[in-house]
Subunit: 351 residues, 2 copies
DNA sequence: TTGAAAGCGTTACCAC
DNA sequence: GTGGTAACGCTTTCAA
């Protein structure tokens, strides 16, 4: 039988309230009595108030729920996600709050259950394409939800369209006209391969949709028709999937002079694919990523930098202390096109 | 006012129990009634039983607490930790259990508070040198604690000493006699620099202590005195710290013919330091790491492979379903010395 | 400074 | 198939 407040109270010969005070409001009783209580507790193996009971009573769970795109076991492999989490964790720590990684399993029902059952004070939704039900379940909880990918009441994100438009303009300025785009979650069956995206607006994944839109607009402004652009679906956001997807662009004639990707991880895969074919990035084929993860710099890759750490931090602050002014509840962070060696003028002579 | 079970019960005209059953034991009532209840709930904005109250009643928190070495914001940067977490997350998902990252702040009191206040069913202690108090607090909770670095009742780990002994023997076989070791957490002040470690046994960090012991034993067996070995402290487990520490070995005469490190991250830093000095790994200076993280293979680095993913998985299983037989409560996983190009014969002629 | 009493929102048991 | 009743372990007035 586990000791409870009452056990300790009985032992010392005081009431529950006094023992409770000994832990939660030390100033409410004499130091000696407190010491006696704490001693008794130690002796009885009582390690302090039961967190769950305390939560129930106080109405505070002491944790932030984190909702991920995919299996939580994947989350840690994406450097961008890791940065985001670090920022979030930092703020959580400062507020004596834990981070609860919610297990969103593959089946819909399981995911809903998990969201409804999470003992948390709010949710940070990191990136949940296709999990609208889970998101709705989070909303239904009636606790704050910070969304970084869709527009909700609490939002922290970037101007996705403007960001990729800038990248697209850079490409157009360099004279590229044969372009391929690699994106994840753009084919319904989640396979890797070329896919036709007649209307970007209909894409299910927020991130891919917005980023493709930016490119499309930049291309259009330069007179490049969207229908001429090769769109390739990657089965997931990883370097390997990026390389596999790139093959569909690189192994065709005429070969595109530029291959852009919606994330750095995918773009690094594109670089891998170039290397495997002895093609020189920025000379034979230009490559652009998105995120500016550490490996991007090492690979001398042109990309769009977004402040992942800040996004996490702000998400945490928004959640822990939601501003009253609606205007303050939506934060749009700046991005920056970082030009490195992976982009260069379109080599007109190449086949 | 948030709706509760009672609110819904009143609305439908049934008792609380029936509403509770509608959610938790659907087979206990007629489908029609259940539908009516669920509809009413939706209408009222009731999103299901309060997780905290449910936890209190059922005695199950639905989460595993994860205790990290350092600020949880650091945890994600160590590839080994990430692998471990992935394994753990996998098992947690399968058991509909969340992962609560507990904010161990820098001050002792804050850490204790956090551990005592975490609403979890058990703890996985990943690597907490210097946080003995936090560990004791976890133990005191009276819930299962899986330890991977110290010997507790539930344990999953490797034979640290035998692992590095094998690495040390490899080095001795290659004829190295001027050797430096880079390790983190071996100087009391956590600074980077050469440090004297007269008795390995007294080191505070479990991992560093065990791994140095293995090396020491291997060296001793080959007739190399421990006092002749250069021990260098790294201020933390990162590539940068590894490079900084390596400088203390490489910039002296005579230069060691081998520099080993207690983790791959540190060892990769050593390789960086070699590169900066135009020294060839495996030719001019041999390097050995520990863990076999993905980058190690890419760097052609000799290292000790340990099954990080499995460690995480087993930690989860041990926690969620502690075996009765004490023998099964301690799992020692195999390791393997992976010899790559970063080690070679001691170049007798080098200075 | 201390204690009694009233919940917090749920679930489990046992009658009906 | 359904509904009381009694916990689960704690915190918080409020009165003494």
């Amino acid at each position: 039988m586990k000791p409870t407040l009452q056990t300790v109270a009985d032992r010392v010969g005081v009431s529950r309230s006094t023992v409770s005070n000994a832990y939660s409001r030390p100033d409410q009783l004499s130091p000696e009595l407190r010491e006696r209580i704490l001693d008794a507790a130690r002796e009885l193996g009582y390690s302090g108030p039961n967190p769950t009971a305390r939560s129930l009573r106080s109405g505070r769970a002491g944790a932030i729920g984190v909702l991920f795109t995919t299996a939580l076991s994947i989350a840690f492999t994406d450097p961008y996600a890791v940065q985001f989490l670090r920022g979030l964790a930092e703020v959580a720590e400062d507020n004596r709050t834990g981070l609860l990684l919610v297990p969103l399993r593959d089946d819909d029902e399981g995911a809903l259950e998990a969201v409804r059952n999470a003992a948390v004070d709010g949710f940070v939704v990191y990136c949940v394409p296709g999990w609208y039900k889970a998101m709705e379940a989070a909303w239904a909880r009636g606790i704050p939800v910070v969304n970084s990918d869709h527009f909700g009441s609490l939002f922290v994100g970037i101007d996705e369209i403007a960001s990729t438009r800038a990248a697209g303009e850079h490409l157009m300025r360099l004279g590229h006209r044969r372009v391929a785009i690699v994106a994840d979650y753009i084919s319904p069956d989640r396979r890797t391969g070329e896919v036709s995206v007649p209307s970007v607006e209909d894409l299910g994944s927020y991130v891919s949709r917005e980023r493709l839109t930016g490119y499309r607009d930049a291309f259009a402004a330069a007179g490049l028709e969207w229908s001429e652009v090769i769109t390739i679906s990657a089965a997931g956001n990883s370097r390997e999937h990026g390389a596999a997807a790139a093959a569909y662009a690189l192994d065709r004639a005429p070969r595109p002079t530029a291959v852009v990707a919606t994330t750095d991880l995918l773009a690094l895969g594109v670089l891998d694919a170039l290397a495997a074919r002895d093609l020189r990035p920025g000379r034979d084929v230009s490559v652009i990523g998105f995120d500016d993860i550490p490996d991007a710099a090492q690979a001398h890759m042109t990309t769009v930098r977004q402040p992942a750490l800040d996004r996490g931090r702000i998400a945490g602050r928004l959640l822990l202390d939601p501003p009253d002014d609606p205007a303050d509840r939506r934060v749009v962070l700046p991005t920056e096109l970082v030009v490195r060696a992976s982009t260069g003028p379109a080599s007109t002579g190449s086949v």
